[in-house]
Symmetry: C2
Subunit: 278 residues, 2 copies
Amino acid sequence: MEIILYGKPVAEELDKNSKKVFDEFKSSNKRNPKLTAITVGEDPASLLYVSRKEEKANDLGVEFNWIKLPEKTSQNDLDSQIKEIIKESDGIIVQLPLPRHIHAEQTINMIPNNLDVDGLTALNLGNLYSDNYKIIPATSLAILELIKYYNIDTNDKNIVIAGRSRLVSSPLAKILSSKKYNANVSVIHSRTTNQKSFTLNADIFISAIGKPKNYDISFLKENSVVIDIGISSVDSQTYGDIDTSNLENHLLSRSPYPGGVGPITVSALYSNLAKLIS
Amino acid sequence: MEIILYGKPVAEELDKNSKKVFDEFKSSNKRNPKLTAITVGEDPASLLYVSRKEEKANDLGVEFNWIKLPEKTSQNDLDSQIKEIIKESDGIIVQLPLPRHIHAEQTINMIPNNLDVDGLTALNLGNLYSDNYKIIPATSLAILELIKYYNIDTNDKNIVIAGRSRLVSSPLAKILSSKKYNANVSVIHSRTTNQKSFTLNADIFISAIGKPKNYDISFLKENSVVIDIGISSVDSQTYGDIDTSNLENHLLSRSPYPGGVGPITVSALYSNLAKLIS
């Protein structure tokens, strides 16, 4: 019987540990830790994500400082805002995507390493090349926590990652290949023509491409583990990357969509905040 | 007939371009660009590498400032030395490996990004995750320059990299997977048991493990390209990773050892210096 890798218990476990750190912080510092989120513009998905982060902050005893800037904010004004909030925050999120006239990387790189809860500054990503990294980008961390919670063995396993995004696949490929995980990692992408020659050999297949139901049973190795982290929307309905029809008992386990990695991502962010303040 | 991918013409091409930049630098600044190399201790291989860099500096019109520190140098003294030379150098190399009592990463990370000719600081490595990187770590760059010089097509090709070192394989895997190269990249390592299931599907096999003659013809796909960047020594003889016996006409092309990627590496370093000062 296929096991469904629900994200909720993983998120709860992370939250429990983070809350302990936040409570200790509060009793030593006589205040709650403070996370500042900056949004520029009105992208509905971004606003939704940030409001989820705000809810979680309330649950965990974190002061959530949401700075909503108008779409037309200049790079200079944004930079000054960031400089201000650095002084008074324990963690900073600059929600992506940013409007086109804003230089996203340069903006993200203004966040000091000790406040970088998303783990997306160049300096933090570069630290992943060492074995002493502290902060893993939140979505990558969510996947690693899922793997850990469900005792999924990665040693000498063939892991295929579909997608090569800067913020998810690339850091994840690097980490899963490291001595801690010892996986044999292959990265495929939209320009890979013979995808099945990879996916059908994947003991663990991680899909992060964001195309609705792109991979059906014909792509998936029997008794393998499938982790779906793609999200796409068509006609205001959202989908994962995996077409789950007829999958019964084909796989050893799989993360569902929704309810898989998604719920862990926000908790991973707070887990990073907990690491930064302790 | 198998093509041998000699490094020498690639190095000469790089040097020609670098020299042009250095000559321009000299005529604008009335001085040669200055590269400072720091060695700590007497590791013979390190001293040999640095002396090769020094020779090349002389050829290219770069002032080479070699600071030789004793094995027992403290972290503090090393740090102060680096702070001093930052003021008066156009590029800095801290030769690895460093003695055990020195924190190598912390030391490397003292090099400002604009002087980091080796491309090994965390900040520079993190920039590789963006598509706007400027400096590629010298050995990775050497391989990419070899690929470019010999017009090796990487698009949708299966590239297998053996080895997962921080300084070579990991940055290279990331870059070859990016939109500029579009390769399907797999990384294998000492804990991969079924290596042939990867190597026999490799259109391009890059070996960076440093074990003498580890891969013979039985590992190599017919008509594939093999790039050997491993170096190991046994009884004061040095070897590459590839056992070339009986290889006649099995491969499309291969880099030899010696005379393959090695000679390009030093030139790649100066190519990085040229990028940094222009």
